[in-house]
């Protein structure tokens, strides 16, 4: 994962609430076993039907509950592959938000009025370290979990970090706390 520091540039706007991951990347494209190349299928039906137009700018501003529905990480993959580096919205679905942070696509929560102002400004600068979105409309602060921010700023792989704690996992297993569940390998 590449490190994120400052994301700066033009803003694309998708002024809709409850945009679900089925719209972001429709099911027929989930059959691919690769991780790349999903960008051309982003919002496939909406774009092909002429319902929306989207420029591949660094920043996308959109409506509340963005990324609801299916846990498909193909949705953040498609947004990132299309060219977005940050998504700004009043709220995100939980799994989608986590999926974004795992691949280095920055989810930014601003209240609805500020989202609208950034959309109208047309250009913005997002500073991950300062936790600010700066545009002609002003400087807006956003919240992000400290450990998530640390990972994003340093482009760190979650698995690598966890494996530094392998001793704690070994100890947990050795304590017997992990022995209560079933053994799938024992199934006939």
């Amino acid at each position: 994962m590449r490190a994120l520091d400052v994301i700066e540039g033009r803003v694309s706007v998708l002024d809709r609430a409850d945009v679900d991951t089925d719209q972001i990347i429709p099911k027929q494209f989930l059959k691919r076993v690769e991780r790349t190349g999903f960008g051309e299928f982003l919002f496939y039906d909406w774009i092909r039907d002429g319902e929306i137009e989207l420029e591949p700018n660094p920043i996308l501003v959109t409506g509340r509950n963005f990324g609801s529905g299916s846990s498909r990480e193909h949705a953040p993959w498609a947004l990132e592959d299309f060219g977005f580096e940050a998504i700004v919205a009043p709220s995100f679905a939980d799994i989608f938000y986590v999926n974004c942070t795992k691949i280095g696509l920055l989810p930014v929560i601003l209240d609805e009025a500020h989202c609208k102002q950034v959309a109208e400004a047309g250009e913005a600068r997002i500073d991950v370290d300062d936790q600010t979105v700066t545009s002609a409309a002003g400087v807006f602060e956003f919240d992000i979990e400290l450990d998530v921010k640390y990972r994003l700023l340093n482009g760190l792989d979650d698995i690598g970090i966890t494996l530094e704690n392998a001793g704690a996992i070994d100890a947990f297993e050795a304590s017997g706390a992990a022995d209560l569940g079933p053994q799938t390998t024992a199934l006939s």
């Binding site: 529905g69 795992k102 996992i169 992990a178 209560l180």
Partner: protein, 461 residues
């Protein structure tokens, strides 16, 4: 200090701050290939294949194709074959096509008894919340997290807030768990549970069978909830007893499981109360599960909505659904009926639907399809003669899989077709581009198939 069930589950699995041990990792073909690739690229293995179980469900044809190599759709075939190869390479048990244990991942877990109270369960699928019905903590995750769990048997997780929804009274005749959860989402909104682990409680929940509880927990994600759960009780224990993966010392396990329910006096971040007796059979009218009304109501008028963004969403939804405000829900004509999905494809669901259609015929204008949730459900249904009931009513009786819930296999709606579906999502294009989905209970779907339009199951005989 009194604890919630969630607190107990969380603390019993916290390896270090925010690192949660996973007791069972369920894997399917769609969200796993890139995770296995990631392991190979970084030279990592699967830490606990013995706590991992795979099946093929999302892509699988339901027309009787019996092996991955015979799937006609090349991309689907490659995906299922990739899963089979990955499981072989990493030593993960798999029930693929052709196995008599294959089925929807959220149906086979409970069926085999690998889903048990007190566990943490994850799967690269948002409907993993289903397993919370057993008093377990179950999360849907993305592919990066799938890779993380494969490599470490743990997940990095921010501690969610807690919410309890208490249902007083009891469900009326003809009102099902599906209606209860649809009504709840309608009330709280599709973002109403975001950031929360939700416990469903109260007398109306305690009365439910395990399949009913699974239907409710299953749709937690449609309300935005991180996890849904129900306290384990004798109903839960009796379900697990005797299943292949049930604990050997069952009494000791039950003793342990009895400690799980929320303590008296424990506090939740949010509490909601709903009178189950006031609920009706529900039908969705729009393009999110929260766009739902009672069957006796009419399509709502966006002009009556206060928030401009709700109004705009409703207008777009009605345009997509080709519905006029004020149309009674019972006058909406249907082209298709789908009975299946991880929400409503268990044997009890099929029994209820079969009871409604027995001796009747599917309306000539309707194409009806029944897709059992697993090979075992199919076998049981056939032993009970349910397949014959459905077939002689004019339904198609299919093989197990996710099928037309999301249409990754050939089971899809054609442009403009309108479907009564027992599945969980009525998103635009979910069941096929331009398809129009109305979510309902199995009984309501079956009755709608017979009449060719929705009916209030309470008045229908």
């Amino acid at each position: 200090m009194p604890q919630t069930m969630f607190d107990k589950l969380w603390e019993a699995h916290e390896v270090t701050d925010g690192l949660i041990y996973v007791d069972l990792h369920l894997v399917h073909e769609v969200t796993s290939p890139q995770a296995f690739d990631g392991l190979r690229l970084s030279g990592r293995g699967v830490r606990r294949p013995d706590k991992t179980l795979a099946t093929a469900d999302h892509n699988t044809p339901t027309d009787g194709t019996m092996a991955a190599r015979l799937i006609a759709d090349q991309l689907s075939r490659v995906q299922v074959e990739t899963l089979e190869r990955n499981c072989e390479e990493f030593g993960i048990p798999i029930y693929s096509l052709g196995s008599d244990r294959q089925g929807i991942v959220h149906v086979i877990g409970p069926e085999l008894g690998v889903t048990q109270p007190g566990m943490t369960i994850v799967c690269g699928d948002s409907h993993t919340s289903t397993h919370g019905a057993f008093g377990s903590l179950a999360f849907g995750i993305g592919t990066s997290e799938v890779e993380h769990v494969l490599a470490t048997q743990c997940m990095v997780q921010k501690r969610p807030k807690t919410m309890r929804i208490s249902y007083s009274g009891q469900l009326g005749e003809g009102v099902t768990p599906k209606d209860l959860i649809l009504a709840t989402i309608g009330r709280l909104g599709t973002g109403g549970m975001v950031g929360h682990a939700v416990e469903y409680a109260g007398p109306a929940i305690e009365e439910l069978s395990m399949p009913g509880r699974m239907t409710i927990c299953n749709m937690t994600i449609e309300g935005g909830g991180r996890a849904g759960m129900i306290a384990p009780d004798d109903t839960t224990f009796e379900w697990v007893r005797g299943r292949e993966a049930a604990p050997e010392d069952f009494d000791a396990a039950v003793e342990r499981w009895r400690q799980l329910p929320t303590d008296d006096g424990a506090t939740f971040d949010q509490e909601v109360e709903i009178d189950a007796g006031s609920l009706s059979p529900m039908v969705t009218w729009g393009t999110t599960p929260g766009m739902v009304v009672e069957v006796a109501d009419a399509v709502p008028d966006p002009d009556s909505m206060e928030s401009p963004s709700d109004r705009e969403s409703a207008e777009r939804a009605l345009a997509y659904m080709a519905l006029q405000p004020g149309t009674p829900m019972t006058e909406i004509p249907l082209d298709r009926v789908f009975i299946g999905s991880c929400t409503n494809s268990r044997i009890e669901d099929l029994r209820e639907a079969a009871a409604a259609v027995e001796g009747r015929k599917v309306a000539p204008s309707v194409h009806g399809m029944v897709v059992p949730g697993s090979q075992q459900v199919k076998k049981t249904a056939e032993a009970e003669g349910l397949d014959e009931v459905f077939r002689s009513a004019g339904f198609e009786w299919r093989e197990a899989g996710c099928s037309m819930c999301l249409g990754m296999n050939p089971d899809i709606l054609m442009e403009g077709e309108r479907c009564a579906s027992t599945s969980n999502r009525n998103f635009e294009g979910r069941q096929g581009k331009g398809g129009r989905t109305h979510l309902v209970s199995p009984k309501m779907a079956a009755a709608a198939a017979v009449e060719g339009h929705f009916v209030d199951i309470r008045d229908w005989s």
